[in-house]
């Protein structure tokens, strides 16, 4: 019976692949989340801008990436834009579109940036306006009041939604397996297609649940840490 859940022979043969898939998933999510984070700040600031030519593109970008499935975006980029081979070759950008890994990095970054910008915008707006007025009254420069007053307070509110977005990214990264990336999901499908042994799906499930749970615990810890000035004794 235990062989249906965990077959040691199967693990001996494919365990290494699973671990490398695990590393790929983590790498993919970590890189794209960080790129997305910086990109999202630009988008969020553009969104709040009063200039129509600045905020309209930001809005359009967020609508586009939040309104359509990641899978469709990935296919559009990898198969769609990637089909103009000669054009990219002459432009010297073919290395970008020929590799599934690069396409994943770009699309995942753009996708998560749109979601993170929404979080950023919401949390920046929910900092009480009195805080900013106080900055003005103290004669702080715009840069100082942003980095010292506005941003840190917004981050407290944004932490939990950011963590949720990170978890969503981990889950969404499974889609990368559909364009030949061997992340956890990709390895699982490969092993299943070779062995037809259903337990590999359960392994993958456990692996994903572990990643998600670890992230959740870390965030819980971080949240307690940055809100310690708000706690009652």
């Amino acid at each position: 019976m235990t062989n249906y859940i965990f077959n040691p022979d199967l693990w001996d043969r494919y365990g290494g692949r699973f671990l490398s898939g695990f590393v790929v998933t983590i790498e993919l999510v970590a890189i794209t989340f960080i790129i997305g984070f910086f990109l999202s700040m630009i988008v969020a600031v553009a969104w709040t801008s009063k200039n129509k030519w600045v905020n309209l593109p930001a809005r359009a970008y967020m609508f586009l990436f939040r309104g359509s499935p990641l899978l469709a975006q990935l296919y559009l980029f990898y198969y769609g834009l990637g089909s103009f081979t000669t054009f990219w070759q002459s432009a010297g950008l073919w290395w970008l579109f020929s590799s599934a890994w690069n396409c994943c990095l770009i699309i995942f970054s753009l996708n998560t940036a749109a979601y993170q910008a929404e979080i950023f915008r919401g949390s920046l707006q929910s900092v009480p306006v009195g805080q900013l007025e106080a900055c003005k009254a103290l004669g702080l420069s715009r840069w100082t009041s942003f980095t010292r007053i506005w941003f840190p307070q917004a981050m407290i509110l944004a932490l939990r939604p950011f963590a949720n977005e990170f978890i969503l990214m981990i889950k969404a990264s499974a889609v990368a397996s559909l364009i030949t990336i061997y992340d956890v999901m990709g390895v699982t499908k490969l092993v299943y297609s070779r062995t037809y042994d259903f337990q590999v799906y359960l392994w993958a499930a456990v692996l994903y649940l572990i990643i998600v749970e670890v992230v959740r615990q870390i965030v819980g810890f971080a949240e307690r840490r940055i809100t310690r000035h708000l706690r009652r004794i």
Binding site: F63, L76, Y79
Partner: protein
Amino acid sequence: MAEYLALLSFSDGGWGKVLVAGAFVTISLALCCLPFGLCLGLLSALLIRSKIAVLRIGATIIAGIFRGLPELLTLFIVYNGLQLVLQYCAQLLGYSGSIGINAFFAGVLGLGLVFAAFSSEVWLSAFNTIAIGQYEAADALGLTRLKTFFAIILPQTFRNALPGLSNNWLTLLKDTSLVSTISLVDIMRQTSLAASATRHPMFFYSIAVILYLLFSAITGFILKKIEHRYAIAVKRVAL
């Protein structure tokens, strides 16, 4: 331009009819998941709030699992796993043929479970906003527990849950694109077929993205209207 329009035409050689069929599959899948997921989500929220420890812990763990698993993996597990389980049961009953399950059914089940797991969280936080006085007042009026729940608590909860649920719906709509991987011919699969047959991937994938954007925008608009309508009781009146 005319060449592209011809690709979309509804006559022979055009892909219009096929794309509409794909869109129909996507929409009907999402609409089938909706009642299933909503009811299951409500049920699991009630179980999580129940005083019986076994039910509470069980529901919490199951909801946690379906929130933590990638939707793609959930779909594969439901599609392949259900087939294996049914096969095993059939063998016990003495039937030895092979059993295949309907991909549409597997899609509804898988995405419905994910939708239920996420909506249970929304339901829970909506329940928490109901003041205890509502329960006490219902008790004072001598209403039965069932009546209290359906006539007093649920309508108010629904109003609070609506914004969260409409977010869940938009996520569900986008997640339906994943069913193309379990051999269900939805928009995504249909555009892939069209793209490889005509060698215009850019064009067809753009159409797919536009269709999804259209669905999101339309249903988002409708949901905003419904939210507005439901919030009428708590809206402030401009004097």
